[in-house]
């Protein structure tokens, strides 16, 4: 561990470890709970989980990098999940992606400098009949057009500035 590494409050993990006590196959579940607490998986959390589970940090990293749900970097306040599923693709998801990237000035998987937005393209949100769709935090926005997508983002930006 180096000086530049994250310094997370590891005491918060105790409750998670307790919940999965005795379950030797709980690594993924533990990482999911840890990400709920910290917003992402900081390096020191990965080490702490590895030590607790009794496997190498490399094995934990292996799992964390295999599944798309896990993040190794903090995300913005508003996580935009843009659906790139088949129905959305057919109905123009690419043009929505372009509009969002242009509006936010970031690419897929990146976060804006002000920490307000992260953009992530995902495989399928399962709201195919509303395609093209994006989900911002827990809210789904359907039947998008490039202009509509820009407008939604602008509105959240304005609300963020007002708050």
């Amino acid at each position: 561990m180096c000086e530049n590494c994250s310094k997370s409050d590891l005491t918060k993990l105790a409750a998670v470890f307790k919940e999965f006590e005795g379950d030797e196959h709980a690594l993924i579940s533990i990482l999911q709970k840890a990400q709920e607490i910290y917003g992402y998986l900081p390096t020191d959390v990965i080490y702490a989980v590895a030590e607790h589970v009794g496997v190498s940090p490399a094995k934990v990293m292996g799992v964390a990098t295999f599944y798309t749900q896990f993040r190794l970097q903090p995300v913005g306040k508003n996580l935009i999940m843009l659906c790139k599923g088949t129905a959305c693709h057919v109905n123009g998801a690419d043009s929505i992606a372009k509009a969002l990237q242009d509006e936010l000035g970031i690419g897929d998987g990146e976060t804006t400098a002000d920490g307000l937005f992260s953009l992530k393209e995902v495989a399928c949100l399962g709201c195919c009949s509303l395609s093209p769709v994006m989900m911002i935090n827990e809210t789904a926005y359907g039947s998008l057009t490039p202009d509509k997508a820009r407008e939604i983002v602008r509105k959240i930006k304005a609300e963020g500035a007002a708050a």
Binding site: L31, Y67, N91, C127, S131, A140
Partner: protein, 594 residues
Amino acid sequence: MKIVVGEGSCGIAAGARKVRNALEALNTGASVEIGVTGCIGMCYLEPIVDVYGGERGTGNGERLLARLVRVQEKDAERIYKAATTGDLSGVEDLKIAAEDEEFLAKQTRIALRHCGVIDPESIESYQATDGYKAIAKILGKGDGQGMTPEQVIDEIKVSGLAGRGGAGFPTWFKWNAARNAKGDEKYLICNADEGDPGAFMDRAVIEGDPHSLIEGMLIAAYAIGASKAFVYVRAEYPLAIVRLEKAIKAATEANLLGPNILGSGFSCELRIKAGAGAFVCGEETALIESLEGSRGMPRLKPPFPAEKGFTDKPSNINNVETFANVAWIILNGGAAFAAMGTETSKGTKVFALTGKIRRGGLVEVPMGLTLRDVIFGIGGGVREGRKFKAVQMGGPSGGCIPESLLDTLIDYKALGATGAIMGSGGMVVMDDRTCMVNMARFFLDFTAKESCGKCVHCRIGTKRLHETLVRITEGEGREGDVELLEELCKGIKDGALCGLGQTAPNPVLTTIRYFRDEYDAHIREKRCPAHECAALRTFSIDAAKCKGCTACARKCPAKAISGAVKTPHSIDATKCVKCGACAAACKFGAVLQG
């Protein structure tokens, strides 16, 4: 009176919860009952609100007075008024149209029999519609003497039920193999890792009827001799997880799960495991690796999970829809199920009908109907009067079926012969504006990203396929590219370890087989016939139609359009970035695409 709001994930995304909140705010005196149900299946009409009449709380005695569609928050007040007074004249305009009612009327619902009908969060609601009667019958707690595990497996064999996850393997065979496997501890696993983009059948079943999944799993656990069961659900389905958790809790409290179920001596414990986002985990051995907390990389088969599965113990894995049929089969008999369908495919199948379709949603039909029956008869054909081009079935493992094969039967064998597969049920309709080469590129982008990397053919093969397809769609295609793609596809099919790799070439092979002319146009003429591939598009202005309104010039991000007001404009091809903003902005159809 009772008002029921359809709250599946799509309904909620369309605003159903806002509607219910508004209704509940009006219902301060609790003069009507306001309830929820799962996905009704007519996604294109969401949010949907049903008004029931009859005596309150009488369950089946209630009758549907009106189905209201595309309801908005602002409509809550008049709906509430209609429900309290019984005078529905104020909501006439919201009532479902007769032709839309056909969407459901033309279906035969078994797996979805309760979806959109019962309250998914109420065990009583499930029990009122024959819920948990099948497991009671088997355990000898209903009428009759009960059934042995062998009798259960025999009944499933008679039904002809096959795996609804896509492969179509006979369910009884898997159960029997797990039953006969040696070992004192066995596991039952439900694959709810519905990863095919464009498919949401399993989500709808769990959100709309979680108890039927539980009951189907209980019957399977009894048949194979398992006392521990898991449901592996996609993390992207939070509502499904919440409803299933509630259902498990209610079933446990009712002694329908846990130790000594209904006093029969049979015990079964059920747990949910949330996936973490990996398409390959739909493959059963990869799913087991993931359940064990590891990277979801497939194992070599044999040994099959029936011999060595979860923690090397005998395990049986079935899909959600497969389980959702089981209780019905036990109650109605395998023969009733087998009476529907074709020689090689029995019963019904659920499809998620999406894409450029007029009426999109969940469709359950007997096997043996044609694709045309589903897409045109139920789905109403292509939206905006465009021309049907193809239907994509089976997601990244499937293929595109052209118009000339629309009379293909819904049957595992017949669909397999087209080069596509039955798959888990995704049916994405495409019109003449969808480029088939770009479609193949889209799927290979997906599989290349989702390949776990364990075997070379899949890891590198899908990447090379994707690169070649990107090249073609960007106008860099070369003579011989199609043959190169075909050779690569063959290598991947033969060499890949698991189903993901073995089927990954299908989208490429079917588009080459049926739409070779589109590949040739891209490669030889540097032209995209569907005008979808941005690099191959050209834009020009039809001077006869242009009114000189300047709308296009103002929208052009590259300032490539010039012309004075009220005189025809023109596009400078050297500046044009081919974004299509001008075509979208023009109200006179004056922007021509080539």
